[in-house]
Amino acid sequence: MWNSLKTMWTIFLHMFRRRVTIQYPDEKPVIPPRWRGRIILSRDPDGEERCVACYLCAAACPVDCIALQATEDEYGRRYPSFFRINFSRCIFCGYCEEACPTDAIQLTPDFEMGEYDRKNLVYEKEDLLIDGTGKYPGYNFYRMAGLAIKGKDKGDAEDEAPPVDLHRLLP
């Protein structure tokens, strides 16, 4: 009995505490930068798409919400011909970001994605692609990879020696 009364008094005193509620639409909550929200596709510092359409994100996705089709431009650079994320399925686990070898796919702190129509939650590549580099400003996959693409021949990559001519006999 005494215990119950003490409990009630403590609860009553909570009336004068500070509220913990954040009145959301009027007052925005502070979202940490590593928040796993809306997914984007970033570009490298040259302004080209980072995505090399390796399908690792689609394979890592536990709910199969990522669909894409790989293709190549005339210089052999791979990119997705379409890239589609169905956000009505997405669980924002961030596995796609972990799987991505080129830091192309990234999760952002935006969570306000409400829609009246379910179909509007299917985001195409033009919805996903942003102009900047996202979380990793300096990284440029094709400038480091040994692959020859437009504007960069074999051996021109960062920290890369010129290719060895296999047919030369001199040491």
Binding site: S4, F12, H14, M15, V20, T21
Partner: protein, 318 residues
């Protein structure tokens, strides 16, 4: 003619006030619970969230009025009606202020006890007619709980009756002119409070609907306005018990300075606030604990209270 008009205006006024207050109470309760849990509660619809009641009412009325095919239809429909009627009928005897009140029965207290006992039928029938195991369990629990708490609820009030020498609620209020009965009848007051909470099925004793174990207990299968009637019935019950506590133990409308009506409303509101505080702070006991508490602690206490009060009244008179 004017007497009849006065009586009718009394009836309609009290009905309107009780109904609107019961609706308002759903908002007050949520706000107060919020306040005591470091939140705000509903505050977005209208000023201070007051229009939340209107929104809830529209929602309840617009919902599908579903009677499950496996239910006993007549009783299923009848059950929520009973609780609303009994709760409102009991209000007829509540003496709000001098000149305000529906009837002045000389057995007012007995009428109140009778009506609050009849309310059990609603829950038992609702639980049985739903033909659902959770509802049935809720109905069983309600029946056992109400019966055992009804016993000492009536007994706990007999001390008050002895002191006032009347079953008439207006006489009981008038008898508290010098000293409120919550002081000489402290045991009776405590036991009546406990019984009242159990009668109103409020939180420490809300085993009939125990959300965590029985889904929603006896009203699991109810939807739309039938559920609304149970809801209103519960809140009317809370107001009724609070009003009765004020009448029997806190001197009803008596008080200095303010007009009698204001005093009555103020005291009732404080008691309702206490009920909500109980809900905010106390956990629900186990079912056997509840029964043991009723029969082994509360009933002996009321009997002791009855004996002592009787002895004192006898000694005083001789």
């Amino acid at each position: 003619m004017s007497e009849l008009a006065l009586a009718w205006s009394n009836v309609i006024l009290i009905l309107a006030v009780v109904f609107s207050f019961a609706a308002l109470l759903s908002w007050i309760e949520r706000r107060l619970l919020g306040v005591w849990q470091d939140r705000y509660g509903p505050n977005r619809v209208g000023p201070f969230g007051l229009l939340q009641i209107v929104a809830d009412a529209i929602k309840l009325l617009a919902k599908e009025d579903w009677v499950p095919p496996f239910a006993e239809k007549t009783l299923f429909v009848l059950a929520p009606v009973i609780i609303a009627i009994t709760a409102l009928l009991a209000f007829a005897v509540v003496p709000v202020a001098p000149g305000i009140g529906v009837v002045d029965l000389n057995i007012g207290l007995l009428f109140f006890l009778a009506m609050s006992s009849l309310g059990v039928y609603s829950i038992v029938l609702g639980g049985w007619a739903s033909n659902n195991k959770y509802s049935l369990l809720g109905g069983f629990r309600a029946a056992a709980q109400m019966l055992s708490y009804e016993v000492f609820m009536g007994l706990s009030l007999m001390g008050v009756v002895m002191l006032a020498g009347s079953f008439n609620l207006r006489d009981i209020v008038a008898a508290q002119e010098d000293l409120w009965f919550c002081i000489p009848q402290i045991l009776g007051f405590i036991t009546f409070t406990v019984a009242g909470i159990a009668e109103a099925r409020r939180l420490p004793f809300d085993l009939p609907e125990a959300e965590n174990e029985l889904v929603a207990g006896f009203h699991t299968e109810y939807s739309s306005m039938k559920f609304g009637l149970f809801f209103i019935g519960e809140y009317v019950g809370v107001i009724l018990i609070s009003a009765m506590m004020v009448t029997l133990f806190f001197g009803g409308w008596l008080g200095p300075l303010l007009p009698p009506l204001m005093w009555f409303l103020l005291k009732t509101f404080i008691v309702i606030g206490f009920f909500i505080l109980l809900r905010a702070s106390l956990p629900r006991p186990r079912y056997d604990q509840l029964m043991a508490y009723g029969w082994k602690v509360m009933l002996p206490l009321t009997l002791v209270n009855l004996l002592v009060t009787g002895a004192i009244v006898l000694a005083w008179e001789s």
